[in-house]
């Protein structure tokens, strides 16, 4: 950038503002954001907008097809599918959001430590990470959930632990890259203590890729929660979860397909929307595309 180009910039545009501007140009990503926000809203307002009690059974309305009264039909115990999908959004989004937050909290500090400290600290953290990454994500989550016992909280913990090594590796790689930059050298020359280098200088610089990875990890965590609940390791009956609803639905796939279609559609939509959102974030925050 030449001196004239720099002085032609009329006002200071912060990196965050510029990313927002570029994100808003990305139509699919904005659509994804809208869908995600709609689901978040539905989950938050479930107690008020759900037409029926999601766990109230009714022997007179077993497996009724969609109607004006039950827009998404009813299940094998006569419960309203729409209400269960709305309440189920709570389990799914909570599992996605909380488990990824926990995975970040667990993974990023270890990644920063490994990348910046180097030496045996790095070797130790990296080998543990490699060992965890050598087991497929879902298999590790199932094993941990089975070990911890069937409950939604345990499923979330299992997902968080399984998702953390990817953040360790990402944070470590980016911290190592940052460590060799001149601005870290300059920060050291200014007398910054090591913890301040890590938290005040390196961390803000690696937030964008972490944010993109975290968004995509939420989508994975939602699928993982649905899978665990499908296997009976997540949300426990009678509380609704998209995964356990699918499990119940598979026995009636030909007689009552609506029992499977709506929770399945919900998972599909949320995961697709989050992935679109993540792609948009990646484009908006990509350092190689700076200046566009």
């Amino acid at each position: 950038m030449s001196a004239t180009a720099a002085s032609a910039v009329p006002r200071a545009e912060s990196p965050g503002r510029r990313a927002l501007r570029r994100f808003l140009r990305h139509r699919l990503a904005v659509a994804g954001l809208v869908v995600v926000l709609a689901f978040v809203l539905a989950a938050a307002l479930a107690p008020w907008i759900a037409p029926f009690d999601p766990v109230a059974t009714s022997w007179s309305r077993i497996r009724k097809p969609p109607s004006e009264l039950h827009l998404f039909g009813t299940d094998e115990n006569g419960r309203d599918v729409l209400s269960r999908v709305l309440w189920g959004a709570r389990a799914s989004l909570l599992a996605g959001g909380l488990s990824v937050t926990a995975a970040l909290t667990l993974g990023v500090p270890f990644g920063l430590l490994a990348g910046l400290a180097g030496g045996w600290v790095d070797t130790f953290i990296s080998r543990v990470t490699d060992a965890m990454l050598s087991v497929p994500f879902l298999i590790l989550a199932i094993a941990l959930a089975a070990f911890l016992g069937p409950a939604l909280e345990n499923a979330m913990l299992a997902i968080a632990i399984s998702a953390s090594p990817i953040f360790v590796r990402l944070a470590r790689g980016m911290a190592m890259e940052a460590k060799s930059t001149e601005w870290v050298e300059a920060a050291r020359a200014l007398g910054n203590p090591p913890w301040r280098i890590a938290l005040a200088h390196v961390l803000p610089n690696i937030v964008p890729p972490l944010l993109v990875q975290a968004t995509l990890a939420i989508a994975e965590a939602i699928i993982a929660e649905a899978s665990l609940s499908f296997l009976g390791l997540g949300q426990q009956p009678p509380n609704p979860s998209w995964g356990s609803m699918l499990n119940a639905a598979q026995r009636f796939l030909t007689q009552a397909p609506w029992m499977a279609i709506y929770p399945g559609l919900a998972i599909f939509l949320v995961v697709l929307a989050i992935n679109l959102l993540g792609d948009g974030l990646r484009d908006a925050l990509d350092p190689r595309a700076r200046g566009r």
Binding site: A3, E182, W183, A186, R188, L190, N192
Partner: protein, 326 residues
């Protein structure tokens, strides 16, 4: 008392090929308010010397010798004490202004950081002081520039911000590691003039690391010429440049382009390459490239005074008769 005094400073890196002694006992002093230039080609140990003084060498580097900051020995201080000196009494600016600023902070934040770290100023007062500092380094519209991010500033502007950061806490010693190498020639001149002015205003001593002899002539009081990890020649800048007493300095001066030299002639080069420091030649390290080499050069030459304050590490110094003959 000297602002900075370095005695027999040696740095050895532990490498896979074995120990590598990149700095082999160099000594020099930095008087307060003066500029001393450290000159030499790439790999001669200039930057290692500056990082050793700052205490910023990687853990595989072993430092020997004395480093005295205003008479106080700092080489043996614990890391935490060394850290407190950095940015406060000892500051450094780097070669690449384009990459030496943290991309996610505004110029003002980066200058304010030094003040918050070392003087415990709160955010608002540090910001106000930072703007004043940016004004001091002649940044126009400092208050507006303080809110801009590095990518919105030109190279010269960024180097001014770096200088403001380094001088914010009024350090006693400023190390400038090739501060203008990455800049346009006109901007170079402005930045060097600014460094001179700031040195006058703050009374800091400046260690200017460069390979540009023109810069040495215009901005340095003293010069230390380094070759392969040792001091080849040292003395008042004007004297060393006018009457060099080490064949290497003679070679460097011959390799510098001059406007008043004869046109159409090729620049002289120093024949050969820098010796491998893993296996340095015995005796004088310059002997492999020296046109005046004789048998005695197989023993290490002492740094001897050839004129008041002017010392050269050459068995054949003074070179005056040899140069006339050549």
């Amino acid at each position: 008392m000297q602002a900075l005094e370095v005695r027999d400073l040696a740095v050895t890196f532990a490498t896979e090929r074995g120990p590598l002694r990149v700095l082999d006992g160099i000594s020099f002093a930095l008087p307060p308010g003066r500029t001393v230039a450290l000159v030499g080609e790439s790999g001669c140990g200039k930057s290692v010397a500056s990082l050793a003084i700052m205490g910023l060498l990687p853990p595989n580097a072993a430092v020997e010798g004395a480093i005295r900051l205003e008479g106080r020995e700092i080489a043996e201080l614990p890391p935490e004490e060394r850290r407190k000196l950095r940015g406060a009494d000892l500051a450094m600016i780097f070669q690449e202004p384009m990459t030496s600023l943290n991309p996610v902070f505004t110029a003002g934040d980066q200058v304010a950081e030094a003040l918050r770290l070392h003087q415990g100023l709160d955010r608002a007062r540090a910001q106000a002081a930072a703007v004043a500092m940016l004004e001091a380094v002649r940044i126009p519209e400092a208050a507006r520039r303080a809110r801009q991010y590095p990518h919105q500033l030109s190279g010269g502007m960024r180097q001014r911000v770096m200088i403001a950061m380094a001088l914010a806490c009024r350090p006693r010693v400023l190390i400038a590691d090739e501060p203008t190498t990455a800049l346009d020639v006109t901007v170079q001149a402005q930045i060097l003039a600014l460094l001179d002015d700031m040195r006058g205003e703050t009374g800091a001593a400046v260690l200017l690391i460069t390979h540009d002899l023109g810069v040495v002539a215009d901005h340095a009081d003293e010069v230390v010429v380094m070759y392969a990890g040792r001091v080849a020649e040292t003395g008042p800048a004007a004297r060393v440049l006018a009457t060099p007493q080490h064949p290497y300095t003679v070679g460097l001066l011959g390799a510098a382009p001059r406007l008043d030299g004869p046109r159409g002639t090729r620049l002289a080069t120093v024949e050969g390459t820098v010796p491998d420091l893993a296996d340095p030649p015995a005796g004088c390290r310059f002997k492999t490239r020296c046109p005046f080499r004789v048998a005695v050069c197989d023993t290490a030459p002492p740094l001897l005074e050839v004129a008041p304050g002017h010392r050269a590490a050459c068995h054949r110094a003074p070179l005056d008769q040899l140069l006339v003959a050549a």
